[in-house]
Structure formats: structure tokens, C-alpha cells
């Protein structure tokens, strides 16, 4: 998600408000139960809405209809909720927006006992029910009814990182002269340069390289205050992140530093960056990097998956491979990255009876329905993002469906135990899957996912995961980092080594206005002095001319009067 499509603000709200009202009125007329859902555009497989209704009808003999509305940015959604013209049973938005809404007391806490699928399958890395280690648990909420965390309010949908998407070939050919003149790069062959470029972006200098003159004019950054502020933060506190021994929570606090001095420092860094970049974008970058207008793009992982796919396939169905493959890489700099989470939440309803109504019951049912692995895979297959829903370490085909999907999509090995795996590189995504420590091994059969879920050719590979010499089950994917699948995999999941440097960003709260004005300072170009001076002189000249013209006229009139008086 996190798209910021340009929008016309007011009229859509008014209209959507009107339709929502009329829907409420029809509620009473029929016995259909309407559940109003608000989500970002292009974010869900719409066939799930009907299949949910069918499922409920078969089970409970009740008609449930999902009214599905979309919005373009978190902020427009916030405005439409705030004005209160629309009532939704379920909304999906970014974690900071859920936090803001919860802080303002606009949300109802979720009863996770009614969400068995979600509780069972959500990744503990992001949403923990046993301790406070999940990322959602880090985001605090303070409102009238007490102190909470987002883990009480939100059920995750999709998540990802903010990293760097780049096209090494474009960067190297477009700025070739600069690379040829740079002492560090000039003696390297093209392939070596490519390797070094990939390494540089992945290293702790990844963000700093955006400021580098070598790639000047090829990179675009997010025209979105929060995301670019995060990049600025990594650059300003680079020394801190590299040399500190602080705990994760301490570093996360640093990442959320929005004190006045920090804002000033980040502002200056970003103004510097502005003069080096191609431009700001929120939704055009993912196309521009495929059509080769730009070579480097600060991108959300979900968009990166989309761009890598489009750089590889010629058609929209992703079946025909292009002749001229645009080889895009996505990476997270070693220094750290922002992790974003799009979550479901239930807006607070004023009448208490709502919470015992069928509407509320089926809202939670729908949310749980989306959290079953089958449907989560349908959504991931549809939008290319990474789901909160993951696998448990069991051999059950539904329990491990998400892992099976990942292996089916990305693993190059053939799953046999006697296969020589040393020729493959491995990508460790263990932390994002729920592993039960008491289990010694489990196996994953890919045929269920390939056949039943995706209706593609049956893949009869079976992978077995068992404890290694340290007594730990590791989920390793055998891949080739420069292959198409490998590049997709690195965009879809961060690696185990990144887990300690993925930070969550709070809502800025009262500092928000200051950061908005910092962002204005960054985006507005100061007028050059000569323009100010010439404008001033122009104004003075015009005023002087008009003034003197008037004075002369007054003088002439007076003289005439005097002459007239003399003549008399």
C-alpha cells in the first residue's frame, strides 16, 4: 500500500459519505447484513468477498454482503473518518495511522479470541501474543481508556520494508564518465562495478550513496514526509547506528527522534539531497525505473516486487518474458531500514448494542477469514506484498501453506535429501516463520499450494526441515541472488541478519506540524537573491513613478490655482 495517488480531496468524501448513508438505510429493509470495509486501492483479491459471503450462507444461512470501499492515501482516509460522515466496520491502513486513530480514541480494541486463524498464523516477529517482542507491540497507544500497544488494536495485513530499488546497468551506463574518473571505480571492469554497486547499496553506506555525486540525477526519493524523514534520520545518525552497543529498543527510540534539533539536522541533510536527485515521487517511481527514466528509487518492498516483475515480464499477466529484461535489485542497507505494517482495525461505534450485533460478529469473521493461509496466499499472489500470515512448523498442508508458497516460488533445489546443496546460496528467513522449539522436524509438501491454491502445474517436491547441530530449525531458501526469483525473494522478505536493524516509526504526535514545516522547507525552493532584489526595485520604481506623477500633478494644479488667483 502506501500509495499516494494524487487526489481531489473533498468531493470523493462527500460522495462516499452519501453512499454510505444510503447503505445504512437499506440495512433495515432487507435481512442482509452489510459489513463496510475500507482498504487501499488494488490491495485485495476481490473474489474473496464473494467466497466469504457464500461460505457464511452455507454455514449460517445468512446473507452477508461486504461493501468494499477504497481510499488513496492514509491521510484522506483519516480525514474521511474524522469528519464522521462515513461509518466503517473495518478499516485497513498503515501502522502509524492506526496509532493516531487509537490515540484519538477512534478505535475499538480487537478481541483476538474471536480471531483464531489470525492468532494461530500471524508472524510472531511482528505481532506477539506471548510477550512484547513483536514490532506492533512496540507502538504505544495512550487514550482515555488507558495505555495499550498497537497489538491490542490492530490485526496485521501486509508488511514490508523501505529500501532501495536500483537498476545497476542504468546507473553505470548513464553516469559512466563519472565512474571512469573516480579513483575507486575507474580500474574495475563493468561486471566488477556492478557487483560493487550492489554491495554499496547493501552496505551501511547504502543511504549515504544517495548523496553521492557519482549517481547524481539518477535517483528519486519518496515525496512522502515520513519516509524521507526516515532516510534523513539514518544519514544524520549514521555514526550512532554503526558504533552503538545500545539495545534494539534504544536504537528504535533514536530512529523515532523528532526533537527540534534533530528535525533541523535532518532538514539540512535533505536539502543537500534534493540538489542531487532526479526528483520526488510517490507512485511514478515504480514505473519510471522500469521504463528507465531513473536508475535508483527509494521504494517500498511491495512496489519493488511489482517493478521487478514488470522489468522481467512483457505482459500484464506475467507470462511472457521480455527480450530486454530490466534487471532490478532491491536491497536494505546494513545500517537499518524502516519496517511498515498495514493493519486492520475496527473503528469505535457509539452505540454499545453494535458489539453484540451480527454486523460486528461477521466483521471479525471476515477479518479472520482473510487470515486463513489459503486466503492470505490468494492476496499475496494478487498484490505481491508480504503477508502477516505465515506458517507454523508442522507438516499439515494448511499449516505450512505460506512456507510452501515461498518454496514453490523461490527455491531452486529439488528438495531431495541427497541433493548437493553447496552450489546454491541460501537466504535465511527463519525469524518470520513461527517455529515450535519442541518439534524436531517437519516437512512441507508443495503439491497442495501449486495444485489446490494456484491451480498451476503440480509441484511434487517435498522439503524437510530439521534441527541442525545447534538444535535449531532454520528455514533456508536455496537461490541465486542475481536471478529473477532471487531478486524477488530479497524484495519480499528481509533476511535474518536484517531483523535486528528493522525499526518501526511512531506517529509524530505533537511534533507532526513541525515536521510538516520542515518538509515544506525542504520542498520549497528559496528565491534567488537577484530575483528578490529586482522584484523590490521594480516595485519601488513603479511606486516611485506613480508617486512622483501624482506629486507633479498636484504641483501643477497648485500652480494653476496660484496663477488663476494672480490673474484675478
Amino acid at each position: 500500500m502506501k500509495k499516494n495517488y494524487r487526489s481531489l480531496f473533498l468531493i470523493p468524501f462527500l460522495l462516499s459519505g452519501l453512499t454510505a448513508c444510503s447503505n445504512n438505510e437499506t440495512n433495515n429493509k432487507e435481512d442482509t447484513i452489510y459489513v463496510h470495509v475500507l482498504n487501499a486501492e488494488d490491495y485485495m483479491d476481490m473474489s474473496l468477498l464473494d467466497s466469504f459471503s457464500e461460505m457464511i450462507y452455507e454455514r449460517d444461512q445468512k446473507k452477508v454482503s461486504i461493501i468494499y470501499d477504497t481510499y488513496d492515501t492514509n491521510e484522506t482516509m483519516y480525514n474521511s473518518l474524522k469528519t464522521g460522515k462515513t461509518t466503517y466496520d473495518l478499516i485497513c491502513c498503515s501502522e502509524y495511522m492506526v496509532q493516531r486513530l487509537a490515540n484519538e480514541g477512534l478505535l475499538h480494541t480487537l478481541d483476538f479470541s474471536k480471531l483464531p486463524n489470525y492468532k494461530k498464523y500471524t508472524t510472531k516477529y511482528l505481532h506477539s501474543f506471548d510477550d512484547n517482542s513483536g514490532k506492533l507491540n512496540l507502538l504505544g497507544v495512550n487514550n482515555n481508556s488507558g495505555t495499550y500497544t498497537l497489538a491490542d488494536y490492530a490485526a496485521g495485513y501486509m508488511w514490508g520494508t523501505l529500501g532501495i530499488l536500483f537498476n545497476p546497468d542504468y546507473v553505470l551506463t548513464n553516469n559512466e564518465a563519472k565512474f571512469n574518473n573516480n579513483p575507486e571505480w575507474k580500474d574495475l571492469s563493468y561486471e566488477e562495478r556492478k557487483e560493487k554497486l550492489i554491495e554499496t547499496f547493501s552496505s551501511s553506506d547504502g543511504y549515504s550513496f544517495l548523496w553521492d555525486d557519482l549517481i547524481a540525477g539518477t535517483q528519486s526519493i519518496k515525496d512522502s514526509m515520513r519516509d524521507t524523514y526516515a532516510i534523513g534520520n539514518f544519514e544524520v545518525f549514521k555514526d550512532y547506528y554503526l558504533n552503538t552497543d545500545d539495545s534494539y529498543n534504544k536504537r528504535n527510540e533514536k530512529f523515532n527522534d523528532s526533537s527540534d534539533e534533530t528535525i533541523e539536522l535532518i532538514k539540512n541533510k535533505l536539502i543537500e539531497l534534493k540538489s542531487n536527485i532526479f526528483g520526488f515521487e510517490v507512485d511514478s517511481g515504480k514505473n519510471d525505473i522500469v521504463t528507465q527514466k531513473i536508475g535508483v528509487n527509494v521504494a517500498w518492498s511491495g512496489d519493488a516486487v511489482n517493478s521487478i516483475n514488470r522489468g522481467y515480464y512483457a505482459d500484464d499477466d506475467w507470462t511472457i518474458v521480455r527480450d530486454d529484461i530490466v534487471e532490478l535489485y532491491y536491497t536494505i542497507p546494513e545500517i537499518g531500514a524502516n519496517v511498515w505494517m498495514d493493519c486492520f482495525a475496527t473503528p469505535l461505534q457509539n452505540n454499545e448494542s453494535y458489539y453484540s450485533s451480527d454486523e460486528y460478529k461477521y466483521t471479525l469473521e471476515f477479518l479472520d477469514y482473510l487470515s486463513s493461509p489459503d486466503n492470505a496466499i490468494a492476496n499475496v499472489y494478487y498484490n505481491g506484498y508480504t503477508s502477516f500470515i505465515t506458517s507454523n512448523s508442522s507438516s499439515d498442508e494448511i499449516d505450512n501453506a505460506m512456507l510452501a508458497y515461498m518454496l514453490y516460488s523461490y527455491d531452486f533445489s529439488d528438495g531431495d535429501e541427497d541433493e548437493d546443496l553447496s552450489s546454491y546460496e541460501t537466504y535465511d528467513i527463519t525469524p518470520f516463520f513461527n517455529i515450535d522449539e519442541n518439534i524436531d522436524s517437519f516437512s512441507v509438501d508443495l503439491s497442495y499450494v501449486s495444485e489446490a491454491l494456484l491451480e498451476e502445474e503440480v509441484d511434487d517436491r517435498v522439503f524437510t526441515f530439521s534441527k541442525d547441530e545447534n538444535g535449531e530449525i532454520k528455514i533456508l531458501i536455496h537461490y541465486d541472488p542475481s536471478s529473477f526469483e532471487g531478486r524477488l525473494l530479497t524484495a519480499q522478505y528481509p533476511e535474518r541478519s536484517d531483523t535486528n536493524t528493522l525499526y518501526v516509526m511512531n506517529d509524530y504526535g505533537i511534533q507532526n506540524d513541525k515536521i510538516v514545516s520542515m518538509w515544506e522547507d525542504v520542498k520549497v525552493n528559496p528565491l534567488p537573491l537577484w530575483i528578490v532584489v529586482s522584484l523590490l526595485t521594480f516595485v519601488i520604481l513603479v511606486l516611485g513613478y506613480l508617486g512622483s506623477y501624482k506629486l507633479i500633478r498636484m504641483y501643477k494644479l497648485k500652480r494653476r490655482k496660484r496663477l488663476r488667483a494672480l490673474n484675478k
Binding site: 532526479f278 526528483g279 531513473i294 520549497v524
Partner: protein, 265 residues
């Protein structure tokens, strides 16, 4: 009697339209401009606007952009309109249509296409944000200049022009003493059609300068998208005030010639 009743009834849809889409929105803007986020009366937005160097800066830049764009459009559009209006060829109407045709295509799509064309000829917004933006503005507002000028020039008093040259004016003097004064209403309405839209344009600078140039429209959007409805509404009021001022300033010129083309457009 019956007729007047009918006329009144005919007015009702327009009246409702005006109330819904003109009066109420303006009242909303006024309300937001002079209240704080809690809805109490406050002059905070006013003070914040006039004490913010950024916002004044954007205002001046937008005014400059508008003035320059208006001048460029007039300089280019005037001769085109004159040639089209004075030549007797039958395809005149077709040529006018050709100039106007891009206006039939969706504005955002057209700007997206302009961006691709500019990249293709090597004037992308990343490297030349100002040039790209001006080309986009010029391209989009040229038809608005040509149309009113064209319709004014169709009504040029040929006899007066002939008389001017008969009475000893050279060609330049004919232009300055006869043709130009006759077309002033067209020029004024053309300028009005370009000046304000340029100032409030949002998509063109955003797309063509790759987000590097902020005009007044972008600044207002920035406010709305960051939940600063009050200050953004105040900026909208400022814009409205500038429209009113420019109308007042040019009022004298358009009123002189009621039959001129200006009233048509």
C-alpha cells in the same frame, strides 16, 4: 405571468447547483480558514501565513510563474490568433481545432504524455525542472489564449485598419494604434484565463518538475494532505482574494467593449 413563473422554475436547478457547488464550498473554506483545529474562531492561520517565509516565498514564486507564463502565452498566441483570423483560407477552423484539440484529452494523461515527450527530447524534469514546467504550462494554457483572441480578432474593424494605413500610419503604427487597442478585451480575458489557473496548477509542476517545484496549488495540497485544513483553507482564501483583485484591476478594460469576444469566453 405564466412566462415569468416558468422562468423561475427553470432557475431552480441552477440555483441548487450554485448553492451546492459554489456557495457551500466557499463557506466551508471560510469556516476552516478562520478557525483552529477544534473549531473555535482563530486568526492563527492568518498570522501563520504572513509570518512564514516559505508560504510568502511560494506565493511570490507562483505569481512570477503566472506572470511569465501569461506573457509567453500571449506573445505566442497573439500572432497565431491574428494569422488565423485574418487569412481567408477555409482550413482556419481546422487549425484552430488542432490547437484546441489537446484540451479534449484528460488533463492528467496529457501531462503524463508531456513528461514522456520531454524525457524523450532530453528535457526531463529531473535535470531541467524549470524549463520542463514552463513548457508544460505553456502547452496547456496556449489554447486558452488563442480562443478568446481569435474570436476578438474575427470582429476586428477592417475599415478602421484601412483608414489608419490610408492616413499615413506605417504597418507598426497600424498595429499599435488600431489593431492592438481593438483587441485589448481579448487580451485581457486571455490573460485572465491563464494567470489564475497557472498559479493554482498542481499536476503540471508536480509531474513535470518531478516534485522539485512547489507552486501555490501544491502548497495547498501539502497542507490538506498533512491534515492542516485550517492553514490550507486560508491559503485558498488568499488565492480567491488574488482572483478578485485581478478581476477588479482588469474590469475597466473588459467593460469597454461589451460586444467583444471576451464575453463569449
Amino acid at each position: 405571468m405564466k412566462f415569468s413563473l416558468q422562468r423561475k422554475q427553470l432557475c431552480i436547478p441552477y440555483f441548487i447547483f450554485l448553492i451546492l457547488f459554489v456557495v457551500i464550498p466557499i463557506l466551508f473554506i471560510l469556516f476552516y480558514a478562520f478557525t483552529d483545529s477544534a473549531g473555535n474562531f482563530s486568526l492563527y492561520s492568518l498570522i501563520a501565513f504572513f509570518t512564514s517565509t516559505n508560504k510568502i516565498n511560494v506565493l511570490i514564486q507562483s505569481l512570477l510563474f503566472s506572470v511569465i507564463n501569461t506573457i509567453i502565452c500571449l506573445l505566442v498566441g497573439y500572432p497565431i490568433a491574428y494569422i488565423l483570423a485574418s487569412s481567408k483560407a477555409k482550413f482556419n477552423y481546422v487549425v484552430v481545432m488542432l490547437f484546441v484539440m489537446p484540451m479534449w484529452i484528460n488533463f492528467v494523461l496529457r501531462t503524463g504524455a508531456t513528461r514522456d515527450v520531454l524525457t524523450w527530447i532530453g528535457l526531463n524534469g529531473g535535470q531541467h525542472p524549470y524549463i520542463a514546467t514552463f513548457i508544460g504550462l505553456f502547452y496547456n494554457y496556449l489554447p486558452f489564449v488563442i480562443l478568446p483572441l481569435y474570436s476578438t480578432m474575427l470582429k476586428l474593424d477592417k475599415a478602421q485598419i484601412e483608414a489608419a494605413s490610408d492616413l499615413g500610419c506605417n504597418r507598426f503604427q497600424v498595429f499599435t494604434k488600431s489593431i492592438f487597442p481593438q483587441t485589448i478585451p481579448g487580451v485581457v480575458s486571455a490573460a485572465q484565463m491563464v494567470f489564475m489557473p497557472t498559479m493554482s496548477s498542481y499536476v503540471i509542476p508536480e509531474t513535470l518538475s518531478e516534485g522539485k517545484i512547489i507552486l501555490f496549488g501544491n502548497s495547498i495540497y501539502l497542507g490538506f494532505s498533512n491534515n492542516q485544513w485550517n492553514s490550507a483553507s486560508f491559503m485558498a482564501i488568499i488565492m480567491l482574494a488574488i482572483v478578485c483583485i485581478s478581476m477588479l484591476v482588469t474590469r475597466n478594460y473588459t467593460e469597454k467593449d461589451q460586444e467583444g469576444g471576451s464575453s463569449r469566453w
